[in-house]
């Protein structure tokens, strides 16, 4: 074959380079998708085993109040009532977000609407630093400051849902604040100017214009805070007392899905009922995080309209 024909018919160096690029990037992305899929498949198959292999009743699992996987009840079924943990998880999450939301919105409003440029920058870097602080450090703060505080001033042993939600409050506050700041900054400047030009006071502008137009962003921030609080393991586990019983008050020892998982996985044998039941708890966590994701998506879609 003559060289010219060969050169025309074979692909150029550029085409080959492009092919290489496509292969590399598609492989990387496929790897990530594979990881996500396999997390779901593995955790789901392990979590379902409780119901299909060990024949536990799904409804009893969600509503039962006795958690003692290694024991059997009068009917010969393992005692797998996950309600105490589910209640604990929701309890700390909701309380923490209830505490954190007003503080986060207040701080974000101060940063975007009231503070001087310098004050804003200082607060911004403090918040950024706090977002990055590891959760075990928050747990240790809880153990050394919050638990004794609750014990001495409010009552009980100090370990319990209240301490757990205080720790989570401190933990999610920076996250929610920085996301709220982002959504407040996204409000177009002329909304504010128009409102002020109409003679509205600063507070009227904030309340009637700025907060209204950034509602979907603020809601997203709150949901993210909830997702983070719901999935947090160690910080909560350190202060909640770890008693897998139905919480009777905010001050009594309780446990969450994550705390039972962290404590239990190492102490149970793979393939036993007790172990499978823990994987079912992990599955609930996984589904909840999926749920939070979907809610964020729905809010985003509504916000765009």
């Amino acid at each position: 074959m003559d060289p010219i024909k060969k050169k025309i018919q074979s692909s150029s160096r550029e085409t080959r380079q492009d092919l290489l690029g496509k292969v590399i990037t598609y492989t990387c992305i496929a790897l990530i998708v594979l990881v996500v899929l396999s997390i779901f498949v593995f955790v789901a198959s392990k979590g379902m085993a409780t119901f299909f292999v060990n024949k536990a009743n799904f409804w009893d699992f969600l509503t039962g109040k006795n958690w003692n996987p290694s024991m059997v009840d009068s009917k010969g079924k393992p005692m797998l009532g996950a309600l105490p943990m589910i209640a604990g998880s929701f309890g700390v999450t909701i309380l923490a977000v209830l505490f954190a939301t007003p503080f986060a919105i207040g701080t974000a409003l101060y940063m975007t609407e009231i503070a001087s440029h310098k004050g804003e920058r200082i607060l911004q870097s403090v918040i950024e630093l706090l977002v990055g602080i590891p959760s075990v450090v928050y747990g240790f703060i809880g153990l050394s400051v919050i638990v004794p505080f609750v014990r001495n001033n409010i009552g009980g042993s100090g370990y319990g849902i209240l301490s757990g939600s205080f720790v989570l409050f401190v933990m999610v506050l920076p996250t929610v604040t920085s996301m709220t700041v982002d959504s407040l900054r996204a409000v177009p400047r002329f909304y504010k100017e128009a409102s002020l030009a109409l003679g509205a006071t600063k507070w009227q502008t904030i309340y009637k214009v700025i907060l209204r137009s950034s509602t979907s962003g603020i809601l997203t921030a709150i949901i993210f805070g909830m997702a983070r609080a719901f999935g947090e393991a160690l910080a909560v586990q350190m202060v909640i007392g770890n008693a897998a019983v139905m919480p009777t008050s905010l001050l009594s020892s309780a446990s969450t899905l994550t705390s039972v998982l962290t404590m239990g996985i190492g102490n149970t044998v793979m393939g036993t009922v007790a172990n499978n039941a823990l994987w079912s708890l992990a599955l609930i966590l996984l589904l909840m995080s999926l749920f939070f994701n979907i809610v964020v998506r729905l809010i985003g879609r509504k916000g765009r309209m």
Partner: protein
């Protein structure tokens, strides 16, 4: 008059809330730093930990944390670079791309304990790697990938399309344009993101308890052969990191000076995160100055 009063009250309430938040957060941070910093000494940072006696250090844990961080970055950076390039340059607008984006979002919001358990199930048990640095690094990679990918994608997107067109006009292939033109310009943003992500990885514990393990084996710092069991570089030895150490001594409570050690270790963690934050800013700025014509 009433409206003005209302305004004043509301604005002052916002001020009070912001002040309260700052006071609470500074109090907690200050509490840790004040009780922890005096405990930090050269001895504390370099000596081995003690299980039952007081006076132990965090040397091995500190080394493990750094080593694990490096390994995680080595594994996760290339993958997320490829994925980031895909999302910003190659991704077609179709259902496949939106599924990919959703998968990355889901991965980034998974509780880290679930990621850790998955790593435990797959690597520690199924692949029989045992509690090892390698299992830990892979679990942390899962944790780090979505963050890093999103950061790289955003940095690449921030580069103006003019640069891409210029590359094409010169007859470069798309791949070459991306690697030789777009990537260098996006580098400062990417590096900043990597360093900030590194701060998060450094303090992660929940994903490591059941992958890298909770025991710090004695390692011999004179032996750098990665295949020797006592070598610091050995990939298959269990490695307790600093964050896991804090959790463990607080939940087991057999160490007489647990609270002092954890205060010291927490202070070290906070300082490291602070350093990562500062570094990220400095490196980002100086790289930007070096690679572009800004003075």
């Amino acid at each position: 008059m009433k409206i003005k009063l209302q305004n004043k009250i509301a604005i002052n309430i916002i001020r009070i809330i912001a002040a309260l938040v700052v006071v609470i957060l500074l109090f907690l941070l200050g509490d840790i730093l004040i009780s922890g910093v005096p405990h930090i000494s050269w001895h504390f940072l370099t000596s081995a930990s003690q299980s039952f006696a007081s006076g132990g250090g965090i040397g091995v844990q500190l080394f493990n944390s750094i080593y694990l961080l490096l390994l995680t970055l080595i594994i996760s950076f290339p993958i997320s670079l490829g994925a980031g390039i895909f999302l910003s340059e190659y991704a077609p607008k179709n259902i496949f791309t939106s599924i990919v984006r959703m998968a990355i979002e889901v991965l980034s919001s998974l509780p880290s304990v679930v990621v850790g358990l998955f790593g435990f199930l797959l690597f520690v048990v199924q692949f029989q790697m045992g509690f090892s640095i390698l299992s830990g690094a892979i679990a942390l990679t899962f944790f780090n990938l979505p963050l890093l990918t999103r950061n790289i994608e955003e940095s690449l997107r921030a580069v103006p399309d003019l640069q891409r067109e210029a590359g094409m006009a010169l007859g470069l292939s798309k791949w070459r344009t991306v690697t030789r033109v777009i990537l260098p310009e996006a580098l400062p943003g990417i590096i900043t993101g990597v360093v900030l992500g590194a701060g998060r990885v450094f303090g992660e514990a929940a994903a490591l308890i059941y992958t890298a393990g909770q025991s710090a084996t004695n390692i011999d710092f004179g032996n750098w052969n990665p295949f020797n069991a006592a070598s610091p570089l050995n990939l298959m030895r269990p490695a307790e990191t600093l964050a896991v150490h804090i959790w463990k001594i607080n939940s087991e409570g057999v160490m007489p000076d647990a609270s002092a050690v954890s205060a010291g270790a927490s202070a070290v963690l906070i300082i490291v995160v602070l350093l990562f934050n500062i570094f990220a800013r400095i490196i980002g700025n100086s790289l930007y100055r070096k690679l572009t014509a800004t003075k």
